[in-house]
């Protein structure tokens, strides 16, 4: 996403990626490691070839050193994404996607694209999903209200994208609706 001026003061996508890296993901380790304590918790033991759950930051570190294989999460495959895409394009609401799917998908495709089946098809599906949802966000701008905004199933990156704009515009709208009312009373 190209960062416009309004977004530079909010959380940046790499920071969101970092936050998303806390989530657990399954790996197939290639080395052995005992249960070790880290700041965020104790992980392991790693006993190849048994699978194990680790935070994504640790999984990417091991993968870059060729010490594990990453098992893509259940939603990162062609069928699931294809199904969501058709739903997205047929219904006016946002369809349910894992909250941080964009960040996690990016990390996995960058580091472990060889562990994912059909990575380029998945990349194009993700791109289509993003564009479909973006189109809906744009429409939603027209229905902007000063008091409430309910956007179910919007995901982390998208929220981050619209947040600065929506906050300011809702503030302005609140002022506009308050003042005419005041002017009307007076």
């Amino acid at each position: 996403m190209a960062l416009s001026v309004s977004l530079r003061s909010s959380v940046t996508p790499p920071e969101l990626e970092l936050v998303a890296s806390e989530q657990l993901i399954e790996i197939i380790p290639l080395i052995s490691m005992d249960k070790t304590a880290f700041i965020s918790g104790a992980y392991g033991p790693l006993r190849p070839p048994a699978k194990c759950k680790l935070p994504i930051w640790m999984a990417t570190n091991l993968k870059l050193k060729k010490k594990c294989h990453i098992v893509p999460p259940a939603w990162l495959n062609v069928d699931f994404l294809q199904d969501r895409l058709t739903r997205e394009t047929s219904q006016p609401e946002f369809c349910a996607m894992p909250f941080r799917f964009a960040e996690i998908a990016k990390i996995i495709l960058d580091v472990a694209s060889d562990d994912v089946e059909n990575p380029d098809k998945i990349r194009s599906l993700l791109k289509d999903l993003r564009e479909a949802r973006q189109a809906k966000s744009r429409e939603g701008i027209t229905k902007l209200d000063h008091s409430e905004l309910s956007l179910p199933n919007l995901c982390s990156m998208e929220i981050n994208e619209i947040r600065p704009f929506f906050i300011r515009s809702m503030g302005v709208l609140t002022q506009l609706t308050r003042d005419p009312a005041a002017a009307g009373d007076a």
Binding site: K65, K66, K67, S113, D114, P119, D120
Partner: protein, 700 residues
């Protein structure tokens, strides 16, 4: 010194690559002062060394070992670096890549005086290796580890001879020393002096001893252990031993297993091979073959190993031929085996140019003459390529012509004497970012970066300028910064790089600024090449540089042959370059060596019409000595290259010794600039007498 055999010859008592590597890791992990300077790699500036350094750096990175890579351009630089290294207290591993095999490393002049916790690993492809480095045991010797490729097993004779001469008093060891390379010579002398110091009991005096009779009590204890044996070897034995050692050093220089091949074997032992490491090992091997450091058979030997590896690591390809040469999907980083034509960079040039610039074709067709060029066009016409087609860049040629190129070449080329036009090699895909690149092309690009990425003006052709394309006016100046500026726009400081360079020049005054610049250009080149190994865009952008380098070489070579500038001495041919448009370019030893190789190939079967006296073989491919004037430094860079009898064959290069001999006999002021002993720098005033001395050298 200890030499470690390759894993196939290893056994429980003889550790091999894997154990040496494990020791490095262990030393790194247990030393409390570990810092980035604990493991230092000194790397020579050639393609094989750069690939090996990169592979080793990757392995270290995966093992979380902090390391430092320092490029070193020559022996002088190595000496300077050694001085600096004595100040590093936390250094515990030193790795020398493609340098140091010929140096006597345990002697005090090199690493004998360093602390005992330092281990020096030598991964060098140049031979011969210094016998002291290989065989000296003891605490001092155990620290130096030479990674060998199995050839040292056959040096049993030399080993016995060396040990005999080392541990027994011998007065005649001087003869060995005078023929060694300069550094090796001084070290050997020091050592032999020590040993000879206590032979006062020996009744045969040595008149040749340089230091006179030194009756020091040195090495007493070694003598005591020898007391059981006869104290004096018979003269015959001594002569025999010294002649064996002599032969070992004076046969000339040649090359063994590439450094990157050695590290690939290490990775195999550690079971951590992958496509990247394999590709780098292939590049190292191809570099050795292209610069005729190894013969065709040796190339085939290693090639077949890598061929199997490629099939092991990469998924099998679909059978149809057209998909073999393009990437299958954007993440495709696979390596494929292919048959490579001997034309220089032919996929990036016009076909005519590629054939024109390859030394193999040049020699068979006589490219430098107009007649030869006509023959080339004739050959192409016979194969069915029209002239406009051959003037098109390869990528714009017709598809069916490209498909049938190889078969047509095989059919028609033998008429012109061009056989063996292709050899088996590899190419690598880079997803959709770029066309697949063959190993030979990659090697050409990287060596162009190493030689001339900075430090000399190079004009590069912009595609489309030929034949009056859109952009009139030949080429664009190749600038390292500019090429990559597009990628790093934010990193350029305000005012641009030019300001920074000027600042550096003014800091230490004119002289120092120039020297620092001189030091910097080959370092910059090294890092440019290092980066290009992993970044395909940078590698591709270096291809035009390589092309203009070749153009310059052909230009110079053709003019040399045309002007009949070659003087044929009894045993070699000499060319001296004192003027010309590319003089600054050829004062770089790397470029000059290429020119020499081109000349050797081009004149392989010619100019031997002059009847050599029948005692030597009738068809002789004479070695070449090429000298080029470096006006700025006031010296000549001289390169000696041996030519082999047939294309694809290699002979040992005896110029290192010949140069040394000649230099001693005429007292010329010389300097060894690089690690290659067949390259030497001579003061301007001494060049004539040096060449004459070289010519009248009775032994050579």
């Amino acid at each position: 010194m200890v030499f470690i055999p390759p894993p196939q010859l290893a056994s429980a008592s003889r550790p091999s690559y894997g154990e040496a590597y494990a020791n490095i890791l262990a030393a790194h992990r247990r030393s409390p002062l570990t810092s980035a300077s604990s493991v230092i790699m000194l790397v020579a500036p050639d393609v094989d060394a750069v690939c090996a350094a990169r592979m080793l750096a990757d392995l270290f990175k995966q093992d979380d070992v902090m390391h430092r890579i320092i490029p070193v351009s020559g022996i002088a630089e190595l000496e300077r670096m050694r001085e600096e290294l004595t100040t590093y207290s936390e250094l515990h591993t030193l790795i020398l890549i493609n340098m140091g095999a010929i140096l006597d490393l345990p002697s005090p002049a090199w690493f004998g005086e360093f602390s005992t916790k330092l281990t020096v690993h030598v991964i060098d492809s140049s031979r011969p290796q210094n016998l002291s480095s290989l065989f000296l045991g003891g605490e001092n010797g155990e620290r130096i580890i030479i990674w060998d490729d199995g050839e040292t097993e056959k040096l049993e004779e030399e080993r016995k001879a060396w040990e005999a001469l080392m541990y027994e008093p011998e007065p005649d060891s001087d003869e060995d020393d005078s023929d060694l390379e300069s550094d090796g010579a001084s070290e050997e002398e020091d050592e032999e002096e020590d040993v000879g110091g206590d032979y006062e009991d020996d009744s045969s005096p040595s008149g040749k001893r340089r230091s006179g009779g030194e009756n020091g009590p040195r090495r007493r204890k070694r003598r005591r252990t020898d007391e059981g044996r006869p104290l004096r070897m018979s003269h015959a034995d001594r002569d025999r031993y010294s002649s064996i050692i002599n032969k070992h050093y004076t046969l000339g220089t040649w090359h063994g297993q590439s450094a990157s091949g050695t590290i690939y074997i290490l990775a195999t032992v550690l079971e951590r091979v992958d496509s990247d490491l394999l590709w780098l090992a292939i590049l190292g091997l191809t570099h050795q073959y292209i610069t005729t450091r190894i013969s065709h058979e040796e190339y085939e030997k290693y090639h077949s190993i890598y061929y199997d590896e490629v099939f092991r690591l990469n998924p099998p390809l679909p059978a149809d031929a057209s998909s073999r040469i393009k990437s299958l999907h954007p993440d495709d980083q696979s390596i494929r085996a292919t048959e490579e034509l001997r034309f220089m960079l032919f996929r990036h040039w016009t076909l005519y140019d590629a054939m024109y610039h390859s030394s193999y074709v040049a020699s068979k067709l006589g490219i430098w003459k107009e007649r030869g060029r006509k023959r080339l066009s004739g050959l192409l016409a016979k194969m069915g390529f029209s002239i406009p087609q051959t003037q098109q860049p390869y990528s714009h040629m017709d598809m069916d012509l490209k498909k049938h190129l190889r078969s047509k070449l095989e059919a028609i080329a033998p008429e012109y004497g061009l056989v063996e036009l292709s050899y088996s090699s590899f190419l690598r895909c880079f997803g959709y970012r770029s066309q697949p690149l063959s190993a030979a092309d990659a090697v050409e690009a990287i060596s162009a970066l190493l030689d001339v990425a900075g430090g000399v003006r190079m004009e590069v052709e912009v595609e489309g300028t030929r034949n009056g394309g859109e952009w009139f006016g030949g080429g664009r100046l190749w600038d390292l910064q500019e090429r990559w500026r597009g990628e790093e726009r934010e990193n350029i400081p305000p005012g641009g790089g030019a300001v920074k360079r000027k600042e550096k020049g003014n800091e230490g005054g004119e002289e120092k600024g120039e020297e620092r610049e001189k030091v910097q250009w080959w370092m910059k080149n090294f890092w440019a090449a290092y980066d290009a190994l992993s970044n395909i865009n940078k590698l591709r952008s270096a291809l035009p540089l390589s092309m203009s380098l070749h153009r310059a070489i052909i230009r110079q070579g053709s003019s040399i042959i045309d002007r009949q500038d070659i003087r044929t001495m009894r045993n070699h041919r000499v060319v001296v370059l004192t003027e010309g448009p590319d003089l600054a370019l050829f004062s770089h030893p790397g470029v000059l060596s290429r020119l020499a190789l081109w000349l050797v190939d081009a004149l392989r079967d010619r100019v031997n019409g002059q009847s050599l006296s029948g005692r030597k073989s009738k068809r002789k491919s004479l070695p070449f000595v090429v000298a080029c004037l470096n006006e700025k430094a006031g010296s000549y860079v001289v390169v000696g290259v041996t030519g082999a009898m047939d294309f694809g064959d290699v002979r040992k290069n005896e110029f290192g010794l010949a140069f040394l001999d000649a230099k001693e006999r005429c007292n010329a002021r010389t300097r060894h600039g690089s690690f290659d002993t067949s390259v030497i720098e001579i003061n301007q005033a001494d060049i004539k007498i040096f060449l004459e001395t070289l010519a009248e050298d009775p032994e050579y």
